[in-house]
Symmetry: C2
């Protein structure tokens, strides 16, 4: 392990985090808010700490290996959230560091669970920072899932290797940098268009910025206590739905589409599966809502579409208190928390790609029972999926389920009822946001015991880093020479 | 598909079912019960129907193929339960055929869920038949899991191929017959010893027969409303615990042990994993019970051991109303419903063998991230597990989870609350017996809507036949030439 290089990379992340605090600082200045002081202190601490580490770890560039890659990614989120939580600490928004760190991790991992009990009583600068942490985290995730994880060989994204824009080189650094720049442009473009469209729908300048940030990151932090419901506008819900859909799809495909290869991208297996799952889920919840509530057809359609897209893409906005819906609808929403968006999106969960391939192999095994000697390959986009990739996806699936079960056991041990325990873990690991029971869409996570908050904080990071990337750091073999 | 052969095999099963009704008929005669008439009618119908089909499908023996194998196994349980439900129908115990069939399937699949609202008000002959259906089903399962499924190539049992007693021939029929006879002797022996030990503990002759039947089958039907708690005897609980443990272990290993290869059997990876999971689970539930209830240490230990073994082996007896335990204990028990006993036991669930291999591969994938070029094989009993077997286990896992989710969605759609919906499906697919919520250990399944009962009936059969064996019959490819 080249610790010098690791610290160097982390110092860069700390510096960027510090610099980005200039945005809420500006907001505090404009709105004349006292929280500006907290941002100024945090900014200075971050810049000084980051600067010092940067200075002491300066050295000629060296090619990094897998090991440094995992360490930078794994520790990166943890360290960024640490410095990103400073404004919450200094502004006195929370009583404890636990709460401040929970909120910061929920931001940078684009989860959207909150320990704030009253969102609307917060200052503009604090809420802007909250939204910005998600948007910033979203940039990291695009970079991670499209540029870094495939090269590190993590769970399935290798399938898209050929589609990823950027120079065709095996050297890790230049490729990552180029890819990131291209995809971030797409991300920025979408955010900007959403902002314009939200403004056109009458949303305030400030709310439009915050919601564009958290939609594109599939984060789901809102500036309102009752989330998107507070705007009461079908137009705004439609705009947000469309951009959640975009954010939950693969950004490498978006890049393809924007550069004129629309037809090829629309044939992508994962994209089609994603849209099919959304259509089917919406259909069932729509039927269920229209027959078990007094919403009527139109409102049932509107609410079911918005909620399904919000949960599947792991955004976590709500346009209604779905805690009040039927057991069927609630259970369905719970299941969707595991599914997640497409690989290479800002969405969390297990990802469409993996679910798609798992189901395909389940079917293949059935088929092989009838034709034991037939050679049948699982295919993705007409290409044979290697058994190495399938193994890595299966391993991901079993670790995900295993950790989910263990974490939910711990939550229930802390005295949470079963539904709240299970859904709080599912929503954290899937980076969704709201759960059910005492952590429903219009509740919050502040009443959880401290240990529980740390368990969920770990789940958010684990889920965001596709389990493997963080877990690998805990293997003794990782630290061997 | 050689339909003649299929019907011939099914007719044999019907005849055996009919003949075995002589047992409850005898009981009705001894106890002077009116239900004897129902058994007589059912016996005659079964013998006549079975006899006619047998007569019309007589033909020289032919070697059967995979296709007939799947059809016999898949339809076998359905047909046997159909004839086995006749006594319930004719005795008027249930108001509907749905209930009668539910109870019969719950018996033959050794599940143990019941639609009886008051068990103790039933006649001796009916309760004996109920217990016997489980014991009879248990014989079928040993045959299925050790002799048939490995040859059909279903999910993992191939690993034990070499250990299975019987002639080393590739011809399906003689091998199956020989293996079955050897293992059934073990089954019979254990049942008999348990009967003696239960009698020695003061249990009545009748109760001892019924409970020996349902212990060895890991079935869990009891003659009492409050199951094993009603005996209030630590001795009886210990005896039953030991025999549940035996019944949940691989019968091929038991055969090995009894024929003098004790040392080798005790080294079996699955057996060790099985005992380790039980020890760990008991430990946690024991600690939890002793700190959240007023049971005290000794009673907490007694109740936790019994309940963990009962659920893991998928027997489903209870020695306390665990519905009243903490959320942690209940959730833990719920998770154990998925795990199940060892492959080659009468237990249901996913089986220890599979869980063991899934976790091993999860770990291997982590390891491979650090050493991308290392060739690491998943091993079982020091032997490399082929990727074909791993694929088939993964396929099993994903189909199991997928069907679980879908079935629970249907149950919640029928208006059940989430906990009852989810646990009723888990307990049915795992062939356990009791669930939580409205289908807890001291509740029953009679209040479910008719559709719900049929969903759970299907789940019991699906789980019992290791998903694949039944599902394969629904593939269009299966019926192609």
């Amino acid at each position: 392990m080249q610790f010098r290089f690791l610290f160097h990379a982390l110092s860069l992340l700390i510096l960027i985090t510090g610099i980005s605090m200039a945005l809420p600082l500006l907001a505090a200045f404009i709105y004349g808010e006292a929280d500006g002081k907290a941002f100024l202190i945090s900014l200075v601490i971050s810049l000084v700490t980051g600067g010092l580490i940067y200075f002491f770890t300066r050295e000629p560039n060296r090619e990094i290996t897998h090991k440094e890659g995992f360490a930078i990614v794994g520790l990166g989120w943890i360290v960024v959230a640490l410095f990103g939580s400073l404004p919450y600490v200094f502004s006195g928004v929370f009583n404890s560091f636990t709460d401040a760190y929970f909120e910061a991790v929920s931001g940078f991992t684009t989860t959207g669970s909150t320990v704030l009990t009253s969102i609307e009583s917060m200052s503009h600068s604090i809420l802007l920072w909250r939204s910005f942490t998600q948007w910033f985290g979203g940039m990291g995730i695009i970079l991670l899932s499209i540029a870094i994880l495939p090269l590190l060989g993590v769970g399935g994204m290798q399938l898209y290797k050929a589609e990823v824009p950027g120079p065709a080189t095996d050297k890790l650094k230049p490729r990552i940098g180029e890819t990131a720049k291209l995809l971030w442009k797409v991300y920025l473009l979408f955010t900007f268009i959403e902002f314009i469209l939200l403004r056109a729908g009458g949303m305030s300048f400030y709310d439009a910025i915050c919601h564009s940030f958290t939609t594109m990151a599939t984060g789901g932090f809102s500036t309102k206590n009752v989330s998107v419901e507070s705007f009461g506008s079908a137009y705004i819900e439609v705009v947000i739905t469309i951009f959640m859909l975009l954010a939950g799809a693969n950004f490498a495909l978006h890049y393809q589409m924007l550069t004129g290869r629309l037809k090829a991208s629309l044939k992508d297996n994962e994209l089609r599966f994603y849209l099919a799952v959304i259509a089917i889920s919406t259909f069932f919840i729509f039927i269920n809502l229209s027959s078990t509530t007094d919403y009527g057809l139109w409102k049932s359609l509107r609410l079911s579409t918005f909620q399904v897209v919000s949960i599947i893409t792991t955004t976590g906005y709500s346009s209604a208190d779905f805690e009040q819906w039927s057991e069927f609808a609630k259970y369905f929403i719970f299941i969707l928390m595991f599914v997640g968006g497409c690989a290479g999106s800002t969405g969390g969960g297990m990802k469409m790609l993996r679910i798609f391939l798992l189901l395909k192999q389940g079917y293949r095994e059935l088929y092989r029972l009838i034709h034991p000697h037939a050679v049948v390959h699982v295919k993705f986009n007409n290409q044979k999926v290697s058994s190495d990739i399938m193994d890595s996806i299966w391993g991901f699936f079993s670790l995900y389920m295993f950790l989910f079960v263990i974490a939910a056991l711990i939550m229930s041990l802390l005295g949470m009822d079963m539904i709240s325990a299970v859904t709080s873990v599912a929503t954290s690991m899937g980076n969704v946001g709201p759960g059910l029971g005492t952590v429903g869409p219009y509740d919050n996570f502040s009443h959880l015991p401290t240990t529980g908050k740390w368990v969920l904080t770990s789940c958010m990071i684990l889920g965001r880093l596709e389990i493997y990337t963080l877990l690998v750091l805990f293997l003794p073999e990782y630290w061997e020479k």
